[in-house]
Symmetry: C2
Subunit: 545 residues, 2 copies
């Protein structure tokens, strides 16, 4: 059994050593040609370079924490502080690689259960120590940065020891998990009962069920299985003012839904300790297939029709022209890709958009669904590309975050951001966010490649997921990123779209939250926080900052 307290990821990047794959030669060529990066590859940073302040926890706070959770579960060694000093956003990775500007916690505690979490919160509220809840540490919006606000000390509360299935009611398709359970562990435990949750965000290998709930995560197959908001039936949380728990009932009219107040609360109200989920029988197989659609607008219309007709696959993903071009350029089998492009052109599509569909189930279950989807897509001019491109996507579905490390090692700014809007507003939003990102980076002399895909379909709209690549501005990496981020966020807010579809708010989107929920909405959320966290110790600087 592995040490539950050991870092789940390498300290300076995504995932674990050994997984990373070098970029194909075509990709390196493209980076040089389109972004003007040199091609030189930097070695990973050295742990010794990280500049950490001395732990500032008072002796009395430390003693009381040791009493609450046991001495071996209060840590302040250098490696543990560094592995909890940042999430995995682009600015997080820039800071980790440079060793400058990291906000390290003064201690990391590993409580065993809900009661120990509550005890830690009580100590922190009395001792005025900031508490940063930490699940997988995979936040890409600054959600786990150990900020202390006006407080003198900060503590990261790692939920690694709260792991496992705590209750199962197969008849009602309900399963309760401790909040620190990771994606693979959760699916392993459910799989033993023939069940699945079906929730697989790109962070799946490392992120936790408590983190999914606290950030309103959406899995890659949310079109079929629903977002985490739709899968969470009940929650239990520890707050500085006591326990906040909701009933595990299918629906209620007993006032505002407090479950929806904890979902997305990002640790600013308390710590989610237990999550009750709707689970389903595990299906026997998965089928992925690909199509080329004649443009992003036509492709969006096809996905809209699929979804509104109740014919959507469990997973649907439409790349725009630019993402299609880059994906094909970077594909690991250039011969096959060239042949595919030639085929699509011969069929009359000049700039096709790659579309991946995924269906869960055995072939007999999947066949009628595939056939219905195919006939709708064909009406929109789709060309079937068979299983290979879909299978390739599925094989690499958690790989994108590793590629980011490799790109950063080559001096590339690489960031992703996502939003959602109505079907009617989708094309304008796509155009405006692309223009904002490209404009902001061009103005800094680092022209960008901006790619986008539609995923996560709803009857009323869909999400847009942008990936932005540019040459890093050496010495001004964070300013460069901030300029692009602000431009994109302003464009999203102007369009009336949401500042985040599934990454949450954290530090990076907090500036734009008032634009989304309004002054009264923000005041209402702050009133809840002031009531349940009167000392203001819960995750300062996030969400409501």
């Amino acid at each position: 059994m592995t040490d539950p307290l050991a870092a789940r990821m390498r300290w300076w990047g995504w995932g674990v050593d050994g997984h990373d794959a070098p970029l194909p030669e075509a990709a390196a060529t493209m980076l040089r040609a389109e972004l003007g990066v040199s091609g030189a590859r930097l070695a990973p940073p050295a742990l010794e370079r990280i500049d950490l302040p001395e732990p500032a926890l008072s002796a009395s706070a430390r003693t009381r924490l040791v009493e609450a959770v046991g001495a071996q579960y209060v840590r302040d060694d250098r490696l543990t502080r560094i592995t909890h000093a940042a999430g995995r956003s682009y600015p997080d990775l820039v800071r980790l690689r440079s060793g400058c500007g990291l906000a390290a916690a003064d201690a990391i505690v590993f409580p065993a259960d809900h009661d120990e979490v509550a005890a830690v919160l009580a100590v922190c509220a009395e001792e005025c120590v900031a508490v940063i809840p930490f699940g997988g540490g995979t936040s890409v919006v600054g959600g786990v940065e150990p900020l202390r606000g006006p407080l003198g000390a900060a503590l990261t509360l790692d939920l690694a020891r709260l792991s496992g299935l705590t209750a199962l009611d197969p008849r009602s398709q309900l399963a309760t998990f401790a909040a620190g359970t990771t994606g693979p562990e959760l699916e392993r435990l459910l799989g033993a009962h023939g069940l699945t949750l079906g929730h697989a965000p790109q962070s799946f290998e490392f992120s936790t069920v408590g983190g999914w709930a606290a950030t309103r995560s959406a899995g890659q197959a949310s079109t079929g299985y629903g977002r985490i908001d739709e899968l969470v039936v009940a929650l239990r949380a520890a707050t500085p003012s006591g326990e906040l728990a909701t009933l595990a009932v299918p629906a209620s009219a007993a006032g505002p839904d407090l479950r929806e107040l904890l979902l997305g609360s990002e640790g600013v109200l308390g710590v989610i300790t237990e999550v009750t989920l709707r689970v389903r029988p595990r299906t026997a197989g998965q089928h992925f297939e690909a199509y080329s659609l004649p443009g992003f607008a036509a492709g969006s219309e096809a996905l809209r029709e699929l979804e509104q007709a109740g014919a959507a696959p469990d997973l649907a993903r439409l790349s725009d022209e630019e993402e299609t071009r880059i994906s094909l350029a970077l594909a690991s089998r250039p011969g096959a890709t060239r042949a595919m492009r030639a085929y699509v052109r011969a069929r009359g599509q000049r700039a096709g958009c790659l579309t991946i569909l995924g269906f869960d189930g055995d072939p007999a279950q999947v066949a009628p669904r595939r056939s219905r989807a195919r006939s709708i897509l064909r009406r929109h001019g789709a060309i079937a590309l068979g299983r290979a491109p879909g299978a390739a996507w599925a094989k690499g579905r958690f790989h994108g975050a590793y590629v980011r490390d490799e790109l950063m090692s080559r001096g590339v700014l690489v960031d992703t951001l996502e939003t959602a809007t109505t079907w009617t507003a989708l094309e304008d939003l796509h155009r405006d966010v692309r223009a904002a990102l490209r404009g902001a980076l061009a103005r800094r002399g680092t022209p960008a490649v901006v790619m986008c895909h539609v995923s996560h379909l709803y009857p009323t709209g869909a999400s847009l997921y942008f990936t932005c690549l540019a040459r890093q501005q050496a010495g001004a990496e964070l300013e460069q990123w901030q300029a692009a981020k602000a431009a994109a966020s302003d464009a999203i807010t102007r369009a009336g779209a949401t500042i985040s579809h599934h990454h949450a708010v954290g530090t990076d989107h907090a500036t734009w939250l008032a634009g989304e929920v309004g002054d009264v909405g923000l005041a209402a959320l702050r009133a809840v926080k002031a009531r349940v966290d009167p000392a203001g110790v819960m995750n300062p600087g996030k969400l409501l900052a």
Copy 2:
């Protein structure tokens, strides 16, 4: 065009005069035999008997309200005060019929739009006047009772003039309505565009879209179309602290969901003025059919399997043995009913449970769904009863509330209450709530008939809807009702079920809310209220009382 300010319902009961149907003779016989009621029929009460206090609104408040909405839209005549003095719960109807104990508002105002609503709230906050938002006035939990709490005056804010479709985006299947739009008007406006909402609670003829949202209503076909919480995409509300509006986006991870804070807020935070809904293409037809299932437990299992297999109809309703017995006894065609009972017994069911399924769509769409549902039901021992009983139910689907008036005229206590729980806990809850109601009423010497049905299916559970009949205790009608209500509510809370699945909290369930959401949950909601309604003028005595 009818006067939008005229009362929608007769002042002393449900609906309009002329709709009521006399009880069949078999029903009168049954009431005498099983409940011991005399059979005498009381005439409707006389308007003159109602005892109303003089309007207590200050001259300055009245002047400012007239400035805000116009003199013709500030009313305090006797009929308008009485038609806004109560909802349509059993205790409301007892008070209206007796003329005693009614809490009448000092004035009724009819603002024209969001800005006028906001202006009225500003006046009331400054003048310390309680505001009771009023849609259709159909609350069955005391939600529109004009309580004033510690304030000197109370005003009912009738939303009748906020009616109509204010925006339509058919491509995104989104429609925005002013909050006071009633069910029939909403469907008429959508129907002109070939669209439907599909939300039909029993109050459909009179209730409003704002009321549905404020109380988390569930339509009879919520199994297929979803509850109002699932149909509302965005809301706009006026609060004493300003506007609170949410974005019309399909999903978001930008913090806690404020839409879910307004849904179920029952007017204690502000007044919902506009609702954006997910709508769908109108289907070409409806098909209802009936089955007899061999007992309530077997029937529940059949519905569970239908729902979890994704094979549920749009509407499903399983009566327990008692509700089946009473429904058949009261049916308008005794010959057909006797034949049906004989047929079911001949097929081996001693005490079958009547089950109604409803499917929306043209015959070709409906056929495969019906066939799949039928094969699952048959495995659970269902006997098909054909279309007639289903069609009869559908014909009378909004009629139950009228029957209540007739029963009360004959001296019958008649109340309904509803809850929801997991599939696993359903049978015990059914037994416990029945026992609580029967026990409480037997102890008062008025033995009860308690019926129940399952409706509103979810993968994790379902709702239970109880109807309770007993002889009224003359002179102690409210105490008698309170004893039964408290016993049932205690049983629901002990079972960990919700105190309301779709009727909301109002005054009647407020005592049990803390048991459901906990002290910290209640404190969080009160903190929001204190922030957005610092003067405490919004609907005092409801929800958080």
